[in-house]
Structure formats: structure tokens, C-alpha cells
């Protein structure tokens, strides 16, 4: 049978009423847990595993996959409306999405996120079905040195994309890098900067920092301003739906986000966040309205949201073809497979084609279901913004705190949330961008580990970084991205650059 026949057969399996019900339960649960910061899809699937012993494998795996996709989507809702990223892959969404929501464009922001997730999920799932064996070969070429080069590219493009003041952006980035050093060093097992606090040994949880800086910091900021800015938020201005212009500005970012997110998700050490960073940086550079970035540019929501859903499908590539789980949720899905006596791995496509294609087909179904479920909900969600501010922010505080200590019930976690919350307040007060701090915390440790692994393998020979053609090319691109704007500015062409930027309109 050809791939297409298998897929059709899978769709028949996925369309049976029971399976559809499991998919519905999955996406509903997933959206719900994605909305709550801290409680992610991984925990939910782990909790549900024992309950599914009695169910049939296809049904429960489809439910788990629905939770995975739903969680990826749900995280964006709170990012956009409440500036509270539910999980690390939706941090970037908060940057432009929340600005849009404050300008009364929460509806279009949610819609572009939902439709972008759908488009990306659809294309990426089809890519998973047809390209998985090839993509995985490419992904395996990436070793520590190539990953290090990729991280460098992310650093350069992302730090260039944030804020107006390079000094303030870099300060924030270095705060994040410093925080990234806390905890047990993975390569030697030695503890760094933990000050004998056992909870710090595992480092600082990304969602804790993100929720604290974004949500708690903002709540404090709003409280400190009293009623001065009380009326600047409009719940709905213009249509709740996307306008023709919104569509025109969204479709390219959706596609670009998919192209960036899928392969990075498929890399065993990639991770969904990096795709969202790169997509954001790319959209800012390519946008015809770069001046809107930082003030609610729809491209900045559309691209990263597509990238994050595409990478969710990408994660399934190494899981299904190699048996390699590359995210926490994928690891639990693997446990789910094993529970039914199925060993995902190089032979899974050959030994249980029905199940694999059933899963891929149900991902398509889950994807459609998510759209159907969420588009009508947008009207309801934006009503959240009409809640009087003191209540809304009190609610956000409760919600953020519960979510954070829900996953890790410890006083230290709570203290960290508050300390970082105050830090976020101060950063906001003095005009420091907060996103680079979170980016530093995510990328810093990854870059460090990959660099050290690469050097361990080469026994300390730095030229190894350039010896691989892939990493050499990526490093070259990163260097150009860093140096060219500097050179142009030095030669007095900085004005020309901004001239060019404004001429593009």
C-alpha cells in the first residue's frame, strides 16, 4: 500500500464516533490545561495514563495527541489576553498578541493564532505523514556543534529584534543568561549558584520566570499606576473577526512559521521555543510594518503561533521513526505506546501501520476539531478583558500562582515567582524589555551545553565548529546578521537603513 492509502485507511479509523469522542475529550482537556500556566500537556497525559489501561490503544493515543495539540493552542489564549504565557512556546505570542488585545484587537489576535495553528498543524501533520523518513535523516546530521551554531543564530537575530535600546535589551539578555547558570551543570554534575537551596539545584523553571516577569510584573505595574491608565484597554474595537487586511498580513507568516517550526521540532535537541524566536525575528525583518512591532503587529502573532504548532508535529517525527522522545509530552506519549505493548522505533511504521496512520489521521481530525471548538469561543474569551481591572489582575495573580505551585508545590517556587515578579515590575518601570531575559534563560544553557559537548568530542579543538559545513554556514549567517547592520551604521548609513525601512510602505 502507498502512504496515501494508509492515510485514507487511518482517516476511516479516526472518523468512527468513539474515536471522534476521544479526540474531542483530548482537545478540550488540552486547551484547558494549556490555558493554566504550569500545568502542561505532559502532566495531564501522565495523570490520564493509568485511567486508560482499559481503553483501546487507538482511542487513548488519539486522546493524548489531542491533548498535545490542544495544549499548544491553549497556551496562546492566556498569552494574548492576559500576558501570561501558559507554556514556554507561547512566550513570544505574548509580545505582540497582548499589545493587540490591549488595542481592542484581541479577537483578530486569537483568530490568527487559531487559524495559524490550524494551517501549520495541517501542513506539518501532512509533512509528518509523507516526509518523516527523510526529515529524520536530516535531523540526525545535527550534532552538538550544529546545534551550537543554531543557538548563536537565534541569539543574534532575537536580540536584534527586541526593543529600541540595544543596551537595555542586552542587559535583560544577560540577566537571563545569568539565571540560566543556576543549578546542576549537566556535563559535570556540579552545582552552580544554588546557595544550598535544594530546589535551585534543578535550575529556574522557564514558565516560573515567564509568568513572573510577564503576569506578576504587569499586575504590580498596573497596581502602582492607580487608576491613571484604567481606561486605556478597550475590549473590542472594530470587528472581533479578522479583516481582509489581517488575512493578507497573516497568511505568509503562517507558512513561514510552519517552514521554520517543523524541522526544528523534528531535531532531537531543537525545542519548540527556538522556532518561535526565529519566526518572530524573521517576521520583524520581513514585515512591511516593522514600526508596528512592539505595539501589536499581527505578523508577530501569526508566525510564532504557526511555528509552535508545526514544531509539535515535528516532535512526532523522531518519536515515530526512531523512538526518540524529544519533549516531555513526547516522552509520555512514548510511555503510552509502551503501555499497549508497542515499541515506537525504527520498526513501528512496519509493525503497526494501522496505529501509526490512525494516529496521524486523528491528528488531522484533532486539528480541525480545535479550530471548530475555538473560533466560536473567541467572542467569549475577549469578554475576559471587560472584567474590571482590579478583579482581572487579582484573578491573574491567583491564576498564575496556582498554576506555578500546582506543578511544583514548594515555598521556594512561590518565593521565586514573587521575586521575579518584583524584578519584572522594576524592569517595566525603567523600560527594560523582559522577553530577552526569558530568551537568555532558555537559550543560554542549551548553547553552553552544546558548545561544551562539541569541544569534548573534538578534545578541545575549536576549529571543529567550522569543520562541519552546516555549522560553518549557520555561523557565517549569524556573523553577517550581527556585523552588516553595524558596518552600515558605522559608515553613516544608519539613516539610510531607517529611510529604506520607511520607504517600503
Amino acid at each position: 500500500m502507498t502512504t496515501f492509502d494508509f492515510l485514507m485507511q487511518g482517516l476511516v479509523v479516526a472518523m468512527s464516533p468513539m474515536i471522534l469522542m476521544y479526540a474531542l475529550i483530548g482537545v478540550t482537556l488540552g486547551t484547558a490545561v494549556g490555558v493554566l500556566p504550569g500545568i502542561g500537556p505532559a502532566l495531564t497525559v501522565a495523570l490520564l495514563l493509568p485511567v486508560t489501561y482499559g481503553l483501546d490503544p487507538a482511542g487513548s493515543l488519539i486522546m493524548f495527541a489531542g491533548i498535545y495539540y490542544g495544549g499548544m493552542y491553549g497556551g496562546s489564549t492566556t498569552s494574548i489576553l492576559l500576558n501570561t504565557p501558559g507554556e514556554s512556546a507561547s512566550i513570544v505570542t505574548a509580545l505582540e498578541g497582548n499589545k493587540m488585545a490591549r488595542a481592542g484587537r484581541g479577537g483578530p489576535a486569537l483568530a490568527t493564532a487559531a487559524i495559524g495553528s490550524f494551517v501549520a498543524g495541517l501542513i506539518a501533520t501532512l509533512a509528518l505523514a509523507f516526509l518523516a523518513p527523510y526529515v529524520v535523516k536530516l535531523a540526525l546530521i545535527f550534532g552538538p556543534r550544529e546545534y551550537f551554531a543554531l543557538m548563536m543564530l537565534a541569539f543574534v537575530t532575537v536580540s536584534a529584534a527586541f526593543g529600541d535600546s540595544a543596551m537595555k535589551g542586552l542587559t535583560s539578555l544577560f540577566v537571563g543568561l545569568a539565571l540560566g547558570l543556576v543549578g546542576i551543570d549537566q556535563l559535570t554534575g556540579q552545582t552552580r549558584l544554588a546557595f544550598d537551596v535544594p530546589e535551585l539545584r534543578d535550575g529556574i523553571e522557564i514558565t516560573t520566570l515567564a509568568v513572573a516577569l510577564f503576569a506578576i510584573g504587569e499586575a504590580l505595574f498596573v497596581a502602582s499606576q492607580g487608576n491613571v491608565i484604567a481606561d486605556t484597554i478597550q475590549a473590542v474595537k472594530g470587528s472581533v473577526w479578522m479583516t481582509r487586511a489581517d488575512w493578507a498580513r497573516s497568511w505568509k507568516p503562517w507558512l513561514r512559521g510552519t517552514v521554520i517550526g517543523f524541522p526544528i521540532g523534528a531535531m532531537p535537541a531543537g525545542g519548540a521555543e527556538i522556532g518561535t524566536f526565529l519566526s518572530y525575528a524573521a517576521e520583524k525583518r520581513l514585515s512591511k510594518h516593522p514600526e508596528e512591532f512592539g505595539h501589536g503587529a499581527i505578523e508577530g502573532v501569526a508566525g510564532p503561533e504557526a511555528a509552535n504548532n508545526a514544531s509539535a508535529a515535528g516532535t512526532l517525527v523522531p518519536l515515530l521513526t526512531l523512538g526518540l522522545p524529544t519533549s516531555a509530552t513526547a516522552a509520555i506519549l512514548l510511555a503510552g505506546f509502551q503501555q499497549f505493548g508497542l515499541q515506537p522505533g525504527p520498526l513501528l511504521f512496519a509493525t503497526s501501520p494501522q496505529l501509526v496512520w490512525g494516529l496521524i489521521a486523528s491528528l488531522l481530525v484533532a486539528n480541525i476539531m480545535l479550530l471548530v471548538l475555538n473560533l466560536p469561543m473567541i467572542r467569549l474569551w475577549v469578554k475576559l478583558l471587560m472584567i474590571p481591572k482590579p478583579w482581572l489582575y487579582a484573578g491573574i495573580l491567583v491564576f498564575a500562582t496556582l498554576g506555578t505551585i500546582g506543578i511544583n508545590p514548594s515555598p521556594v517556587e512561590l518565593a521565586m515567582l514573587l521575586i521575579f515578579g518584583v524584578m519584572g515590575f522594576l524592569m517595566r518601570l525603567y523600560g527594560y524589555p523582559i522577553a530577552p531575559a526569558v530568551v537568555g534563560l532558555i537559550l543560554g544553557p542549551m548553547a553552553e551545553q552544546h558548545l561544551r559537548r562539541a569541544l569534548a568530542i573534538s578534545q578541545g579543538d575549536w576549529t571543529t565548529l567550522l569543520a562541519s559545513p552546516i555549522s560553518a554556514v549557520i555561523l557565517l549567517v549569524a556573523t553577517l546578521a550581527l556585523v552588516v547592520p553595524m558596518l552600515m551604521r558605522m559608515r553613516g548609513k544608519g539613516q539610510l537603513l531607517s529611510q529604506m525601512a520607511s520607504d517600503e510602505d
Binding site: A46, R201, I457
Partner: protein, 318 residues
């Protein structure tokens, strides 16, 4: 909080229909790791079997992740003292983590009950590698220890310890080994398959599907006996005196009376002997290496001692 409520609800649903024995204990099992890992699935399997076999009317699982289990262990030791209903899952990884992290709490601060399962550590190369057997690999290490890069799990973990023990047994300076730690079996596996490193070391279960597909070769396993599913020789057979098993155990609270400890041990023994546990081991692919009582205490003391020695020799622990 949500977690506890949910588990309670599931527990309630599962026990309906079982007439609980009059004196059965409600257990709370701590998995000192995030959901999804080996300790978590051990705890959740125990939960399932203890309930369905009617050994305990209600079992809850609590996750306290962090630092190779030492965060959970510290919390367990300080909050559970004298409470016979509290259990914690742990394993060999914890022994290394306690030493590495200079943890203030050790396994001496809880009451180890029994070893439940175990797995061999396997040394493997990708199918494309020129290395055919363990002796060739050891010869390379003897010639230039740094030239052999090992991909495995976290630093100071069971994989790293096994490499250290092998080096020592082969007469290679353990401080010279080039061990590249990855965050998990998955990432290490990718590095091995992508030929980024010379050799990989991980739980045998991680490699078996790859061997079956013909993408990898196992050179040796670390246990005293050959491992089911592979005909690779043991390290002892190959002439290196290394015997390591990555085991998982269950421990009870500190400060229990002899009767309380006996009651917990009896419940665990009943669980291990049950048909439900046997079928659970089969589905999960875990090997039954049940060891309890004085034998387990002696084995544990031996493991702690040899781990301390080798971690000092590798230079991870001062």
C-alpha cells in the same frame, strides 16, 4: 493541588467494588521526579497494582521533581518521619546524585524496603562504526582515552559510573575518560545514530529496538548475567570485572517501629508476588530483580560504597 484531587478521584473510581481488608493502609507514594520518567511510572504502576490487588484501598502518587531525586528525598525525609503510610520510589541514580550534589539527606535517612526492578547498562555503537567488539573499544581507550567519546545520560549517573568502572577494570585512568553527558537517553541516542560520538552507553531497553532494526550493535552489557533480548557478552565475560545494575527501589519513612516496617514490607511483598505486578512488569518490559530484607540492605551498602569510590576516582566527588 489539582493533581491530588484528580488522583483521588481516579483512586476512588478504581477501588469501587473492592472490599478493603479491615486494616489495610492508604499509601501515599512520592515519585521524586517529573511525570513520565522511570520513577514516576514505577510509582504509578505500584499504585495500580496495590489497588487492583486489594492490598491497599487507596494509593496516591505525588511528584516532587529535581536534582536526581534528592529534592524529593529531602522533602520526604523531613515530612514523613514515623508515618508508615508514606513511601518513596528511588533508585541507583539517587545514590550517585546524593554524592554528586553533596546532598544533606541520604538513603540512610529513610527506611529502604526492597529493590523492585533492574536493568542492565549496555555499551553500543552505531551500525556504521568500525568497532566490532568491546575489546577493540578498550584497546582504543588504552591507546588514547580522550579519543573515545562516550554519549550517555547525566554526569555522575549510572552510565557515567559504568564507564568509570570499566576504565578502572581495564587499567585506564578514570579521570581521563571523555564522557559527554546528554540530558536524556533520547538525545544521547540521536548523537550515537548520527555518528557524533564514538560509543554510547544507556539502559539496554533504549538500544534494543535499534538493534532489532539493524541500526546499532550492542558490544556488552553490565550485569552479571546475559540480558534477555541480546546475545551481547557481559563485561565480566569479556574480562572486565564490572557488575552494575540500574535498579529501582521503594523506601518507607524514617523512624518506623519494627512492626510498622514489617507491615510495609509484607504489603510490598504481597504486591511483588501478585499476578498483577507480574503482568505489569511484562507490559513495561522491566526485569524482576526483587530483593528485600537484610540481603537488600547489604547490597545497597555495597552499591553505595563502590559508587562513592568510583565517583571520587573519576574526580566528580571530592
Amino acid at each position: 493541588m489539582k493533581h491530588t484531587l484528580l488522583s483521588a478521584a481516579f483512586a476512588a473510581a478504581l477501588v469501587t467494588g473492592f472490599a478493603a481488608p479491615a486494616l489495610a493502609t492508604d499509601y501515599m507514594i512520592m515519585a521524586p521526579a517529573a511525570p513520565g520518567g522511570g520513577w514516576d511510572s514505577t510509582a504509578r504502576s505500584m499504585q495500580e497494582v496495590l489497588q487492583t490487588e486489594g492490598i491497599s484501598p487507596s494509593v496516591q502518587v505525588q511528584n516532587v521533581p529535581g536534582a536526581g531525586g534528592t529534592v524529593g528525598l529531602a522533602q520526604f525525609a523531613s515530612t514523613s518521619a514515623g508515618d508508615p503510610s508514606q513511601l518513596i520510589v528511588g533508585g541507583y541514580v539517587m545514590v550517585g546524585a546524593i554524592l554528586n550534589n553533596d546532598s544533606p539527606v541520604s538513603l540512610a535517612d529513610v527506611t529502604p524496603i526492597a529493590r523492585l526492578t533492574g536493568e542492565a547498562v549496555a555499551i553500543a555503537v552505531s551500525a556504521a562504526s568500525p568497532i566490532q567488539n568491546i575489546n577493540e573499544l578498550v584497546d582504543m581507550m588504552k591507546a588514547d582515552p580522550g579519543s573515545v567519546s562516550w554519549a550517555g545520560g547525566s554526569a555522575g549517573g549510572v552510565d557515567h559510573i559504568t564507564v568509570g568502572l570499566l576504565a578502572k577494570a581495564a587499567g585506564v585512568d578514570p579521570t581521563k575518560i571523555n564522557y559527554v553527558a546528554f540530558s536524556g537517553g533520547g538525545e544521547a541516542l540521536a548523537a550515537i545514530l548520527g555518528n557524533q560520538v564514538t560509543v554510547g552507553i544507556s539502559g539496554v531497553g533504549e538500544f534494543l529496538p535499534q538493534v532489532e532494526a539493524g541500526t546499532m550493535r550492542i558490544l556488552a552489557v553490565s550485569t552479571a548475567d546475559k540480558w534477555v533480548g541480546t546475545d551481547a557478552p557481559t563485561l565480566i565475560e569479556s574480562g572486565y570485572d564490572v557488575n552494575v545494575q540500574n535498579w529501582r527501589m521503594v523506601a518507607a519513612a524514617p523512624g518506623l517501629s519494627a512492626e510498622q516496617k514489617a507491615a510495609v514490607s509484607a504489603d510490598i511483598d504481597k504486591m511483588v508476588q501478585s499476578a498483577g505486578w507480574k503482568s505489569m512488569l511484562e507490559t513495561k518490559g522491566w526485569a524482576d530483580t526483587y530483593l528485600a530484607g537484610a540481603d537488600f540492605d547489604a547490597q545497597l551498602a555495597k552499591d553505595v560504597e563502590s559508587t562513592t569510590t568510583i565517583l571520587k576516582e573519576i574526580g566528580l566527588v571530592k
